[in-house]
């Protein structure tokens, strides 16, 4: 799979010389940062054999809440971020409650949460996009502004590199280390591999699964914060479109380096692959409506190649 990515980059470089410029790649990776954070959220839940599809809605919730906090309640950037992250954790906690305590299947529980979150958000602001000066449900006008410090999360730079890229790198590194080298990470993989065997080895399976959903909720909310900083307005459903790509990136991750299981490096390669394709196809002037089909085709081809090679060895 890594080979596919390298070949793709080489091809695009040959076809469109501007592809391999610093500007283009900075934009590419900056675009990718939100998607990567959300994809890592999915990865976290899949490690314990769960499946969190509420992550897109969760990111949208983070957008709504952080914007509302600043525009309606005059909160500082820091408070806005905090509110969003806490909400993300709460979503994770509710998911965990539904799945572990009430034993709902993972996919169905998080799917239900997706609808609930999307629906509730829209009720709160009567379906509007949150912007400074908007009219609230009670007739008043919102007098707060979107704090510059908040926008800096995506638009600011540190050592010439956008902060959102730093954020993505730090989170990816931390999660990678956590899953591959710590005891808790290893047990999470064990829970994902065989929950009953993990239980019979004395592991508190419920605790580990809960932790996974909390991590997932947190990372999705973090992605939402970066998204809010990027678009600058509180568009509630902005996060929904990230769901499919996040799942795709995680699944591609299975095929990277013959992992055969969810892994951080693989997810990043998956997200990068899709980002490179979108960027490259745009530069090749492929109309946007054809891009998705090509994306799917390349993804399937890459997966087939990787899995076919694996089964032959």
């Amino acid at each position: 799979m890594v080979l596919v990515l390298v070949l793709l980059v080489l091809y695009l470089w040959w076809a469109v010389p501007q592809f391999l410029t610093l500007t283009n790649w900075t934009n590419l990776i900056r675009d990718m940062s939100i998607e990567t954070l959300v994809a890592l959220a999915v990865t976290a839940s899949v490690v314990v054999a769960g499946f969190d599809v509420s992550i897109g809605a969760n990111a949208g919730l983070a957008v709504t809440l952080s914007m509302m906090a600043m525009v309606v309640y005059h909160a500082s950037a820091f408070t806005a971020v905090l509110v969003a992250l806490v909400a993300g954790l709460l979503v994770g906690a509710v998911n965990a409650l539904l799945i572990i305590r009430f034993q709902l299947p993972d996919l169905l529980a998080t799917l239900g949460m997706l609808f609930v979150i999307d629906g509730l958000q829209q009720v709160v602001v009567a379906g509007q996009t949150i912007t400074p000066g908007m009219t609230l449900a009670n007739g008043q006008t919102a007098t707060g502004i979107v704090q510059p410090a908040f926008l800096a999360i995506d638009q600011g730079r540190f050592l010439q590199v956008p902060i959102s890229i730093w954020l993505m790198l730090v989170v990816a590194l931390a999660l990678w280390f956590f899953l591959s080298s710590t005891r808790i990470g290893r047990i999470m993989y064990a829970v994902g591999s065989n929950p009953e065997a993990a239980r019979l080895s004395g592991a508190n399976v419920a605790a580990y699964r809960t932790a996974a959903y909390l991590v997932s909720g947190f990372l999705a909310a973090l992605g939402g914060v970066v998204l809010a900083a990027r678009i600058g307005v509180g568009e509630q459903l902005a996060g929904d479109s990230y769901l499919l790509n996040a799942v795709a990136a995680t699944m591609i991750g299975y095929a990277v380096l013959g992992a055969g299981k969810p892994n951080v490096f693989g997810t990043i390669v998956g997200a990068l692959l899709m980002a490179v394709m979108v960027n490259g196809l745009t530069m090749l002037n492929v109309p946007y409506y054809t891009q998705e089909a090509l994306l799917g085709a390349v993804m399937l081809a890459a997966l087939a190649l990787s899995f076919a090679v694996k089964s032959r060895t």
Partner: protein, 502 residues
């Protein structure tokens, strides 16, 4: 002598350069039960797969009645009259369908069967198929609800209806009760009378001795012995191992004292376990035997906290311990080697090494971070101590059954067991590994209270210093070594006799 049903000449198979089977010359004759024995990894399942058309390529020739056949697909094998009843019978049963539909599955899937199947026609056809084996279950029942034994009969009936001539049984008696095993043997003998050629593959040498007319022994992929008439189990074992079998069970304990190391009072769990008391003395191996369903597994799981219990007290060395979940058990030093190693004992996609370190991973960590070298060294130590063969870093799935079982036991060794519970620890394990496990259990008995549960009565009688016989969720009797003969144990286990607890 009647002409052979199946003639194998120079049959062999290798996988990516690894040779698994070589130069097999074998005859399967009508009206005969041929026993096939061999240690784990000797090539038995590969040979069965060749005969049932699992591989699209193998070396050598197979002939049916003098005519060469190419067993390259399961359909071709069935056309040649070869079929098998596998240990995992569920794999041959379509779960969503009824018994009747399963019985005539091959007809239902052929194009000759009418598109709109009248229910009456299906039932009538199915009854016809079921008759020869005497399968007496409701034909409209869901096939997956049948007992293991009934499912076996279903598969046999289906094979007969398809004019099978060579029927291979792969470890069929593993999960059967004694009565069911007897009925299976009766069915097999009946098939033999009809002129079928039966191949009976089993680790249980006493069964092979009882049932088979001839025995072939595989070792390291070759046919090392073919006995033209029944021989003793030790002769078979010698051929399997390549050396005369030593004393099967380790020396009885000399250090057993009367001091109670572990005791259970009034343990009750669900409907399967009805008030059990037992005590294990220091230094002894305590056995638990009984038929399938007697409650042995439920007893061990209740002690371990794997299943909720309604009542019961446990004491280790006189000190009361509360166990509500497996975590509590492990904390108190109570460890369980579960009955189903693949489903409950192993992380199949982890390496053997990582399986071994999985429980006490904290020992190889500093501040929650795993130290890979320490982990590998720890696992390697266990691997050497237990002589685990196979690639330790590859997926544990690839190891043989016996080695997988050693991995399951190995992961507990790193801890400090005070009570070690073993449930059917030697099931599907070859003789050599079985002996190693017995030796290990004996070593552990000096440090921990060992409870060894097995439905193999001879195993418990030979290994345990004292043992309990269970029947329908209760202890029917407790005996010390030498106090009870096989017959009385069987009677107690079958409820034919009421015993008094020693």
């Amino acid at each position: 002598m009647a002409p052979a049903l199946l003639q194998l000449r120079g049959v062999g198979k290798s996988f990516s350069g690894v040779r698994v089977l070589q130069g097999i010359d074998l005859e399967i004759r009508p009206g005969e039960v041929l026993g096939l024995c061999g240690a784990n990894g000797a090539g038995k399942s590969t040979l069965i797969k060749v005969l049932t058309g699992y591989f699209d390529h193998y070396e050598g020739e197979v002939e049916v009645g003098g005519r060469a056949v190419h067993l390259h697909t399961p359909a071709l094998a069935r056309a040649a009259g070869v079929d098998a009843v596998y240990q995992e019978v569920d794999a041959c049963i379509a779960p969503g369908l009824t018994v009747a539909e399963n019985l005539i599955l091959n007809r239902l899937t052929s194009s000759h069967y009418p598109f709109l199947t009248a229910r009456r026609r299906v039932l009538a056809d199915a009854a016809e198929v079921a008759a020869p084996v005497g399968l007496r279950v409701g034909l409209t029942r869901q096939a997956e609800d049948l007992s293991l034994h009934e499912k076996q009969l279903l598969v046999i009936a289906r094979a007969i209806a398809q004019q099978v001539r060579v029927l291979i049984f792969d470890e069929p008696s593993t999960s059967l009760s004694m009565r069911e095993t007897e009925r299976l043997f009766a069915t097999i003998r009946d098939l033999r009378e009809r002129g079928m050629g039966i191949v009976y593959v089993s680790h249980r040498l006493n069964e092979v001795e009882e049932l088979c007319d001839r025995v072939a022994v595989l070792r390291n992929g070759r046919l090392v012995a073919q006995f033209e008439e029944m021989v003793s189990t030790s002769a078979i074992a010698t051929a399997m191992l390549g050396a005369p079998p030593e004393e099967e069970f380790p020396e009885p304990s000399t250090s057993a004292s009367a001091e109670v190391a572990f005791e259970v009072r009034g343990l009750r769990a669900g409907t399967a376990l009805r008030s059990v008391d037992l005590s294990v003395r220091r230094g002894e191996i305590f056995g638990v035997t009984g038929l399938v369903g007697a409650g042995k597994t439920e007893l061990l799981r209740a002690i371990f906290g794997a299943d909720p219990k309604q009542a019961g007290e446990m004491r280790i060395g006189g000190e009361r311990v509360e166990v509500r979940r497996p975590q509590d058990a492990v904390r108190h030093g109570i460890y369980l080697v579960p009955e189903e190693r693949r489903r409950h004992g192993l992380f199949l996609d982890f390496s053997a090494s990582r399986n071994i370190s999985s429980v006490f991973l904290a020992k190889f960590c500093r501040f929650g971070v795993i130290r890979p070298r320490a982990e590998r060294r720890g696992a390697q130590g266990v691997i050497e101590r237990l002589s685990i063969q196979g690639n330790a870093e590859g997926p544990v799935l690839r190891l043989s059954g016996g080695n997988q079982q050693k991995v399951v036991i190995g992961k507990w060794i790193i801890g400090e067991p005070r009570v070690l519970l073993l449930d059917e620890a030697t099931q599907g394990v070859d003789i050599g590994t079985r002996r190693q496990i017995y030796q290990l259990v004996r070593e552990f008995s000096s440090r921990a209270a060992v409870i060894f549960a097995s439905s193999d009565i001879d195993e418990v009688i030979g290994l345990a210093d004292r043992f309990a016989v269970m029947y329908e969720g209760q202890v029917a009797g407790v005996f010390a070594r030498g106090e009870a003969d096989r017959q009385s144990v069987i009677e107690l286990a079958s409820g034919l006799r009421k015993g008094t607890v020693a």
